[in-house]
Structure formats: structure tokens, C-alpha cells
């Protein structure tokens, strides 16, 4: 019966209730997005780094992986030394370069990764074969589309262009054997993978037996930090960084995002709270007479409190559910805008949905919904009955 009264008072002012629900939905959507933003990048970055199962990355001494153009000399020697370690299962050397692909009379540039196909962890083959033999490549869709090529075609690719001689240097005819997706590249970036040796020879003497990066996969259960420290001691020309440390570093860089998310999330929660408190207070003020009558005929205080709290929570919950849906839609939209953020791998999500986020947002909103009713409920329950009825009669 009290439930019916709570429902009735919401339905009575349909337009007002609806507006409040929409308002709450918007603030709930914002809240969910902010909760997602607070953890999304960290989680998706972590899973990205760990996806291929390499726990340690080696970069030229004093640099971070792919931060500079510097390269590691004597790559094959280092690979052999690392392989000799009992806790290492695989080592994947990677050389990065920018290549020019002839297309008609002009050329398009593309990122190139020289790898050893059998152990590489930089791309996923979507179709065809791995580029394991000399002068074979796997290209991504962006590159294939840019030059209008298909698997089986041969591309003329150069390592450089000498403006004085007006000629390409390190030119080769490379055959496309596969179509690939490059995990660490940003969306739309043209790229190809080719055998490490092919790329090294195209680049010329400055890159002989050099690698930009070495990725190390350890045996399951191995002590990552101990291995990392040992490698750094053993190989003087590299800095070794574990995935855990890399994630930590990313996390530090992302702390701005988390603070921003925290502040904006708090603001949206506060807005939702104030909206519901205001609405319920107004609605209670309109019904002071009714509440006094209920009390006069013997309805207990707790029932009045219940009724008003239910009212506030109902608005909050309905708004929250609508808002969670809205939040997912806006998060997807924002993600698609930010996916084009230069220099970030396509697979990084700013807004990554995890069920936990929805529960956190829902919990916060539900708590706020109950709190929002506290003041009006207290006001309704502590009415002086006779005086209120008297005022009602005068009004």
C-alpha cells in the first residue's frame, strides 16, 4: 500500500519524474564512462603487452622500446646468448624501419618490421603465409589498399630515396605472401612485415646485424625480475624492461586520466544526487498535508521514510539503468574518436567495459539514490501533525 503511494506520487507528476530520470541517466552515463576511463587504458595496455607472451623487452641501452631510432648491435650474438639461458624459451629480434613502396610514378611510405617469422609477436596473420623466406612480406590492409595490391603480387620497395641522385636506395622486389594485422600500430597506419635479414640488408651497412628491440619469452613460472636483472648485467648494450614495469610506467603516465576521471565522476554523481534530492524534496513539500493525514490516522514514521526513500531510489535506479546503456554507447563513440589518437596502438581502449565498472557505477548511484531521499524523508517523518493539518486547512 505504501509502495502504491510511492509509485502514485511519481506517476502523478509524470513529466517531472521523467525529466529527473533523464537527468540521472545522463549523469549515470557520465559516471560509468569515467569509471571505465579510470581503468580502461591500464587494463587494455596490460593485455596488449602480455598478449604475445613476451615478458621482457630489450631496447638499446638507456632507451625505451621503439622510443628512438637507436639500434642494438650484434643482435644475432645476443639472441644466441639469451637462448643459452635455461629460463628463456624464445627470443624475437625486431628491426623497425620506414620503407617506400612504389605505386605508379609516386611512392607511399609504410612502417616495416623485420622479424623472424617463427618467433615474432608483433603481428597476427589473417590470411596467406608468414613471410619466412627472403623477399617475402606480409602487408596490412591499409598498405594493400594504398597500393591496390593483393596476396601474390610483387611490390617494388626501397629503403630510402637519395634526393641528389634522384634514385631509390636499397631497392628490392618483395612478394606479398600474407595479410596481417599489426598489434602495436595505430589504426590506418600502413605496415608490412618481412624477414629480419631482408630488412637489414635493404637498410645497408648501418643496420647490419642490428635490431631495434628484442622480445624475450620466459619459461612458465620463471622469476621475471631476476631474469630481467641478469640479462641487463649480462648484455651491456641493452636496457631490459619487464612487462609489469612497462605497465607501471604507463600507469604513471595515465594518472592524469585517472584524476580527471575521478573528478568528473564525482561531479556527475553529485549532480545526480542534487537532482534527485531536489525533486523528492519538492514532491514531499507538495504533500505535507497528505503526509500529516497519514500520520494522523496511525501510519508510522518508518513507513513515511520508506515511501520517500523508495521514491528517490526508484528515480535513481531507473535513471541508472538507462544511463548505463547510454554510457556504453557514448563510450564506444568516444573510443572511436580516440582510436585515431596518433601514436597509440589501435588495440588500446580508453573506455574498456568491464562488468565490475557497471557494478561500481550502479552501487554508487544506488547509494546516492538512498542518500538523496534522506533529507526529504526526515522532513516528512518529523512533521508536527496537528500544526501541519491546520496550515493545510488554511491554505
Amino acid at each position: 500500500m505504501i509502495l502504491a503511494l510511492a509509485r502514485a506520487s511519481l506517476v502523478r507528476q509524470r513529466a517531472r519524474t521523467l525529466l529527473a530520470v533523464v537527468g540521472v541517466a545522463i549523469s549515470a552515463a557520465m559516471l560509468l564512462d569515467m569509471v571505465m576511463l579510470a581503468s580502461g587504458m591500464r587494463v587494455s595496455f596490460g593485455s596488449l603487452l602480455l598478449a604475445q607472451g613476451f615478458q621482457i623487452r630489450l631496447a638499446p641501452k638507456g632507451t625505451l622500446p621503439f622510443d628512438t631510432d637507436a639500434t642494438i648491435p650484434d643482435a644475432s650474438g645476443i639472441v644466441q646468448r639469451l637462448r643459452a639461458r635455461s629460463d628463456v624459451i624464445a627470443v624475437s629480434p625486431v628491426l623497425g624501419a620506414q620503407l617506400h613502396v612504389e605505386h605508379g610514378t609516386a611512392s607511399v611510405s609504410a612502417a616495416a618490421l623485420g622479424t623472424i617469422a617463427a618467433v615474432q609477436g608483433d603481428y597476427k596473420l589473417l590470411e596467406g603465409e608468414l613471410p619466412a623466406q627472403d623477399e617475402e612480406i606480409a602487408a596490412n590492409d591499409a598498405l594493400l589498399a594504398a597500393v591496390g595490391a593483393h596476396i601474390g603480387d610483387t611490390l617494388r620497395v626501397a629503403a630510402g630515396f637519395d634526393p641528389q641522385l634522384r634514385a631509390y636506395t636499397g631497392q628490392r622486389a618483395l612478394r606479398i605472401v600474407g595479410r596481417a594485422h599489426f598489434i602495436y600500430l595505430s589504426a590506418g597506419e600502413r605496415a608490412m612485415a618481412l624477414p629480419l635479414a631482408t630488412l637489414q640488408s635493404m637498410e645497408g651497412s648501418s643496420r647490419t646485424d642490428r635490431a631495434s628491440l628484442l622480445m624475450v619469452r620466459l619459461r612458465a613460472g620463471a622469476d621475471v625480475e631476476a631474469a630481467r636483472a641478469a640479462i641487463e648485467r649480462d648484455v651491456r648494450t641493452v636496457s631490459a624492461i619487464s612487462t609489469a614495469t612497462a605497465i607501471e610506467q604507463v600507469e604513471q603516465r595515465l594518472s592524469y586520466f585517472r584524476q580527471l576521471a575521478f573528478i568528473l565522476g564525482t561531479v556527475s554523481l553529485a549532480v545526480g544526487f542534487l537532482l534527485v534530492t531536489t525533486l523528492v524534496t519538492v514532491s514531499v513539500n507538495e504533500r505535507l498535508g497528505e503526509i500529516a493525514v497519514l500520520r494522523a490516522i496511525g501510519v508510522r514514521r518508518v513507513r513515511i521514510v520508506e515511501q520517500i526513500l523508495i521514491e528517490g531510489s526508484a528515480i535513481m535506479l531507473v535513471g541508472a539503468f538507462l544511463g548505463l546503456g547510454l554510457g556504453l554507447v557514448t563510450a564506444r563513440y568516444l573510443n572511436s574518436i580516440l582510436a585515431a589518437f596518433p601514436g597509440l596502438p589501435e588495440a588500446i581502449d580508453f573506455f574498456l567495459f568491464q562488468p565490475r565498472d557497471a557494478w561500481v557505477a550502479l552501487g554508487l548511484l544506488a547509494g546516492c539514490g538512498i542518500l538523496a531521499g534522506v533529507y526529504p524523508a526526515w522532513r516528512g517523518a518529523s512533521l508536527p501533525i496537528a500544526a501541519t493539518l491546520r496550515e493545510e486547512a488554511v491554505a
Partner: protein, 230 residues
């Protein structure tokens, strides 16, 4: 009627209101006994403290001093929880302006106090129908207050007041908002209620209503100045 036990026992009841302009002494020392099955009208000029006295007896207001007992239960100084339960079980209120819940139907309005008292759904529905039939509204069970005339609304309010079989029915100007003819019907209904055993205290300006009562208490300036039975 004199053989029945004392239901209401008020001793030197006072109620002061502290206003910014000074203290208002609304009830200034009322002593009054009402026996079970009595039908009492409280009359007097406007502002003499009739409603205030009725509110004290109905436990929706607390006396500044004095003692009050109804059916052996002391009401002065009673905590809110107990006073609320007492109103629910022992008091039926009828107001000048009916004060029905606008969102509930006639039937639901009558069910409300029974639901609060914990009565089962079928039981309270049956009783609500009976009560509405008793006050002559058997045909308008599912109408909302706005769809009923003033007289009909007041009948629903009376049915609601009787829902939990109260020991005492209190009515503050129950004919105040009704036209003369409807007022007469209401007077007849009160008489019937009293004949059927309900103790009634009614505050009124309405001479016809006062004449129907068996005892008329005159008030002036917060005091009882005359009290006669017929």
C-alpha cells in the same frame, strides 16, 4: 448510558503555543470525562480551542501540562511510536476537509489503516466493502476522491476512520464543507454510528449537528464554560 466505563479522562489539560508575538494559551485547563458510547459535541466561538482540545484527545498533539488517559492508556508524554500505534488502533479521525489520499480509490482509502495494522489483503478488502456499504457508498468503491462529491468523500473518510474498529471517533467540523442537505445525511449517519455503539466526540459550529448529540460541551477562551447532557 451512565452505566458505561469512562473512556476519556482529561485533567487540567493545557496547550500553549509559543509564538514570536508571545505565548498563545489555546487550551487553559480543561477537565473532562467522556464515557463509552457517549455522543459529545464541543461547541464555542471560533478560536476558543475546540480543535486544539480534539487534537490532544486524538494524540496528534501533546499537552503542555495536565494528564490525559483514554481507555486506561496515558497519552500525555507518550513517545511518538506509541502514540502513532494508539491512533491506529483506538482513534478514528474525521476532518472538515475529508483528507482522503487523492491517488487511492475509495476502497483503497478505507483499506489503508487496515493495511498499516497488518490485516491480510482479503480480510481488509472484505471489511472495506462492508464499511463502504454501511456508510451508503457500496456502489462507488473504485472511484477516486476527485470523482466523488463532498458528501461522498466524507462518507469514505468516516469508513476509513472506522476501519480498525476504534474505541473513539473524533470529528472536527465534519459538516463544515457540506451543503445543508448533505449535512443532514451526515448527522443521520453519526447518530446511526452512535446507536450502533461508537463513542463520538464532534467539534462543530453546526447547530443541527450539536443538537443531535446527547451532550454538549461549551468552550470559551480555552476553557469549558458549560457542559450539559440531554
Amino acid at each position: 448510558m451512565t452505566g458505561d466505563e469512562i473512556l476519556v479522562a482529561a485533567r487540567d489539560l493545557r496547550r500553549d503555543y509559543a509564538m514570536s508575538a508571545g505565548v498563545v494559551h489555546a487550551v487553559r485547563g480543561v477537565t473532562l470525562d467522556v464515557r463509552a458510547r457517549e455522543y459529545v459535541a464541543i461547541v464555542g466561538p471560533s478560536g476558543c480551542g475546540k480543535s486544539t482540545l480534539l487534537n490532544l484527545i486524538g494524540a496528534i498533539d501533546a499537552p503542555s501540562s495536565g494528564t490525559l488517559a483514554i481507555a486506561g492508556q496515558r497519552l500525555d508524554g507518550l513517545p511518538d511510536r506509541d502514540a502513532t500505534l494508539f491512533r491506529l488502533r483506538r482513534i478514528g479521525f474525521v476532518f472538515q476537509r475529508f483528507y482522503l489520499m487523492p491517488v487511492l480509490t475509495a476502497l483503497e482509502n478505507v483499506e489503508l489503516p487496515m493495511s498499516e495494522a497488518g490485516l491480510g489483503k482479503t480480510e481488509r478488502r472484505t471489511r472495506a466493502r462492508e464499511l463502504l456499504a454501511y456508510v451508503g457508498l457500496g456502489e462507488r468503491l473504485h472511484h477516486r476522491p476527485t470523482e466523488l462529491s463532498g458528501g461522498e468523500q466524507q462518507r469514505v473518510a468516516i469508513a476509513r476512520a472506522l476501519a480498525n474498529k476504534p474505541a473513539l471517533l473524533l470529528a472536527d467540523e465534519p459538516t463544515g464543507e457540506l451543503d445543508a442537505r448533505t449535512g443532514e445525511e451526515m448527522i443521520a449517519l453519526f447518530e446511526r454510528l452512535n446507536t450502533d455503539g461508537t463513542t463520538i466526540i464532534v467539534v462543530t459550529h453546526d447547530e443541527d449537528l450539536a443538537r443531535a448529540a446527547h451532550r454538549v460541551v461549551h468552550m470559551r477562551d480555552g476553557l469549558i464554560v458549560d457542559d450539559r447532557r440531554r
